[in-house]
């Protein structure tokens, strides 16, 4: 139960949308896929779901290639797009029945399943409504219901929280967590890192069609803690031991020391150092958020560091 993106590249005309993108989504894990708008998230996902052929590389779902064994691969992956588009002149139950035909369901059996799944995902009152009358949230729930026809072991949510009300956001976040509990491999894309906080185990960052990082959520949270950067007259073991009482200490360079997640205010920390005879040449408080982490990555990617 894995989704493996293997060295995928894709161009639209002269614009290269993806460049050698590789990462994997293991079973029982939620992988957040984060990037700015236009970074290549949706293109990656369209390729992963088999609706867009890659120029190079492949996506392998549970061992089945989406380019060579598309039917088996598609059978094993569900997809809720950011903006689901249907032939909207149809009633929800009719279109569900039609799509269920591709999973081998007969008419009456498909209708029964449709009624069950649409009701389960909160569309019980809209079964006989035309899809054209559905809100974005309802369309996403409909796409979810269709994707759950065969309860696939892998799932892809593409910017699914966009445009949803708080109730809808909570619904899809809880659903992703539930899928993880059930051992599914879940790819959850977003352009806001904090959206995947509390859901994702790993976050893969993409920028301008290139993967610029893959970090566990703990690592990201750790990096995102507030810190005090100090430039001191001297740095030795005693000093580091002393600072260790107030937070996680690391030497940045020379006499430059970083105290992460300080337990006291920076003024208290400076007073304590001065009282011990250690000169504080410079002190700077850093308030980093998850987004800072993300933008820092982007900045580093832009500068060619990554």
């Amino acid at each position: 139960m894995t989704i493996e993106i293997r060295d995928v590249s894709k161009s639209f005309g002269k614009v290269q949308a993806l460049k050698n993108v590789s990462f994997s989504v293991p079973s029982g894990r939620v992988v957040g896929y984060v990037g700015l708008n236009g970074a290549g998230k949706t293109t990656t996902i369209r390729i992963a779901t088999g609706v867009l052929p890659p120029d190079q590389g492949d996506v392998v779902i549970d061992g089945y290639s989406v380019t060579r064994d598309k039917k088996k691969a598609s059978w094993r992956v569900g997809w809720v797009p950011e903006l689901p588009i249907f032939e909207s002149e149809f009633k929800a139950i009719d279109y569900f029945t039609y799509l269920a035909g591709y999973y081998g369901y007969k008419g009456s059996e498909a209708r029964r399943l449709g009624e069950e799944l649409l009701t389960k995902f909160g569309l019980g009152d809209a079964i006989n409504r035309k899809l054209a009358t559905f809100s974005q949230g309802m369309k996403k729930r409909f796409a979810l219901a269709v994707s759950m026809i065969n309860d696939p072991p892998n799932f892809i949510f593409d910017e699914v929280l966009n445009g949803l009300d708080p109730q809808g956001i909570a619904f899809f976040r809880e659903l992703a967590v539930e899928f993880r509990k059930r051992g599914k491999a879940v790819l959850f894309s977003s352009h806001i890192l904090s959206e995947v906080e509390g859901i994702a185990d790993i976050v893969v960052f993409i920028h301008k069609g290139r993967i610029i990082g893959s970090h566990s959520i703990d690592e990201i949270k750790h990096e995102a803690k507030p810190a005090v950067e100090l430039v001191l007259t001297k740095v030795d073991n005693d000093l580091l031991k002393l600072l260790g009482k107030y937070g996680e200490v690391s030497v940045v360079s020379g006499n430059r020391v970083l105290v992460r997640n300080p337990s006291v205010d920076s003024s208290v920390l400076i007073s304590e150092l001065v009282s011990k005879g250690i000169g504080v040449l410079e002190a700077k408080r850093e308030e980093k958020t998850l987004e800072d982490f993300f933008f820092n990555l982007v900045k580093r990617a832009e500068s060619g560091e990554l």
Binding site: F12, R46, T49, G50, V51, L52, P53, K70, K71, K72, S74, W75, W79, P81, P84, I85, F86, E87, S88, E89, F90, D94, T97, Y98, L99, G101, Y102, Y103, Y105, K106, G107, A110, A143, V146, S147
Partner: protein, 570 residues
């Protein structure tokens, strides 16, 4: 449900497509009526048998008519009639007064002498019309009566001027203090032969005196080429009212009429004649085996017939010399089919229904593609090729069903209206032409739907329709005109030649070739224009098959080559 069938079903169950199917069906019926109406409104010499009797003493009036198609088979239609009588003494007086001096005044005043005693419009049942009435006006002995009758059948209409100088004249029989007016008429020739009493002698020319005439009969002998039966159609009235035996003069291979004496004894009837049947007074028809004509039907000018009634109190007879009317088989079908494949027949279907086809492609692929709706479908366990073929096949099924509905409605209507229906093979050829043309155009539009989407598809497909359906003939005409003007060739012939040559390059013209083969199959020739031989040169079955297959397969394949890598969002 299988996605192809589901796509087909959901395609069919759209309101727009249901209306389309209804439109196809109604069009089939409508086109049948249109085609038949354009023939039926053509004035032709009518083919009908009439029998009418007026008993002046009782004022009983009877009119029977049997409407016939060009194959001399009963056909339904409408009969409008007027019975007019006028005083012959008054007419003679008027003629002596004005006839030679003031013709206009004479005609004007004579027309006012005509008294319409009865009139009506009657629809036939199985080709027959029967009117029985008691007239309100008395008919004096010096009156002459005429029947003004107009018939409308799917094969033409007749027009008769209502005037003392026109119409079908009744013959008057004076017998036993009664005056009876009799009108008997069969299709060509429409002469009425008197029926007379006989004692112990019959004559080839029965002697007629006013008191001797007991009735009248009219007869037509029809031979349909290729048939083993000839048909004797009779309209007969006799005072005796009994049945008549019908005898055909014996025929030898060399002399079409056997040497019958001028007069002979009734006991010798079978010496010179073969009995071919028995008829009742009124309208009747006898089928006579052609062997009795000894292979002379195509060259004999006429045959003798004797009608003989052996009544209890009186014996009546007449001798008829009836020319044979040889009719080419399938004449009715030929008339209908020529109309059917003309511009007011199937031409209308193929002119307008491609619009529905291009709309179908819009519904199945161009619109969902421009919306981006195909991607969500493609995320199901289905390959691109399956998605491509499923939608193609569903559209083809809709086209086939719609065309079938149209065709069945059309042919059923034609059959109900005219009794004409093609052979299974011919019917399949004609149907095949229609459905293959539309499928080829569907395939072409499908290619456009794969290359473009949304409004660009609409523009491209409508332009294609205009080119293939509307401008095609005009372009060919202009090409031929500018190439051949002043060269001294028959422009019409060259247009036909080039049109049928270039039609291989037009998906909607596949049906033109199928219509050609249909006519060859059903009536043995295709001669809408004097171009039959040219078409034999140009229409090649292998090229027709190749063109048809190419128009269906190639756009499908080219479309796939584009579709297989295309982004399915707008």
């Amino acid at each position: 449900m299988n996605p192809v069938l589901y796509d087909f079903k959901r395609g069919v169950l759209r309101l727009s497509v249901l209306l389309t199917l209804l439109l196809f069906t109604v069009s089939g019926i409508g086109l049948a009526y249109l085609a038949i109406t354009s023939i039926s409104t053509t004035t032709t010499s009518h083919s009908a048998v009439y029998y009418s009797v007026i008993d002046a003493s009782t004022r009983d009036y009877k009119l029977e008519a049997l409407l016939l198609n060009p194959d001399y088979r009963p056909v339904d239609g409408e009969v409008s009639y007027k019975l007019g009588c006028y005083n012959t003494t008054e007419l003679k007086r008027l003629e002596s007064e004005l006839g030679s001096t003031n013709r206009e005044e004479f005609v004007n005043r004579a027309s006012k002498l005509l008294n319409i005693l009865d009139e009506g419009v009657v629809r036939s049942v199985n080709g027959r019309v029967v009117v029985e009435k008691n007239l309100s006006s008395k008919i004096e002995v010096e009156y002459a009566c005429s029947l003004y009758i107009n018939t409308t059948t799917p094969f033409g209409s007749s027009m008769t001027l209502v005037s003392v100088f026109s119409g079908r004249q009744y013959s008057q029989i004076q017998i036993e203090n009664k005056t009876i007016y009799v009108l008997v008429e069969t299709p060509w020739p429409s002469a009425a032969y008197p029926i007379v009493l006989t004692n112990n002698s019959m004559a080839l020319t029965p002697p007629t005196t006013p008191g001797n005439i007991r009735g009248y009969v009219s007869a037509s002998l029809v031979y349909i080429t290729g048939s083993d039966k000839a048909k004797l159609i009779l309209s007969l009235y006799s005072v005796g009212g009994g049945e008549f035996e019908v005898y055909l003069g014996k025929v030898s291979a060399n002399t079409t009429l056997i040497n019958i004496p001028v007069s002979f004894d009734p006991g010798d009837l079978e010496k010179y004649f073969n009995k071919v049947g028995v008829v009742e007074p009124g309208i009747s028809s006898l089928e006579i085996n052609t062997s009795l004509f000894n292979n002379t039907l195509r060259r004999a000018p006429a045959y003798y017939f004797v009608l003989y009634s052996r009544g209890n109190t009186s014996r009546e007879y007449t001798v008829l010399k009836v020319p044979v009317n040889t009719v080419q088989s399938g004449l009715a079908a030929r008339m209908i089919y020529m109309q059917l494949i003309s511009s007011v027949g199937l031409g209308l279907f193929t002119a307008f229904f491609p619009i529905i086809v291009l709309y179908l492609v819009y519904v199945y692929i161009a619109k969902p593609r421009s919306q981006g709706a195909l991607e969500f479908i493609l995320a199901r366990p289905i390959t691109r090729f399956e998605l491509y073929t499923v939608r193609f096949t569903a559209g083809v099924l809709v086209v086939a069903v719609a065309t079938s509905l149209f065709y069945v409605a059309l042919m059923t209507s034609i059959n109900l209206l005219t009794g004409v229906s093609p052979s299974i093979q011919g019917g399949l050829i004609l149907y095949g032409g229609l459905v293959l043309s539309l499928i080829a155009f569907y395939s072409f539009c499908y290619l456009l739907g794969s290359l473009t989407s949304g409004s660009r598809y609409i523009v491209a497909s409508v332009l294609s329709y205009v080119l293939f359906s509307v401008l095609w003939s005009l372009i060919i005409y202009l090409i031929v005109y500018f190439i051949y003007r002043g060269v001294g060739v028959n422009i019409l012939t060259e247009i036909t030649r080039i049109q049928y040559t270039l039609n291989y390059f037009n998906p909607l013209r596949i049906q033109d070739y199928m219509q050609y083969y249909f006519m060859i199959q059903e009536v043995g020739e295709y001669s809408i224009l004097p171009t039959g031989d040219i078409l034999k040169e140009v229409v090649n079955p292998w090229l027709v098959a190749t063109s048809t297959i190419a128009w269906i397969i190639m756009p499908f394949v080219l479309g796939w080559l584009k579709f297989r890598k295309a982004s399915l969002i707008s």
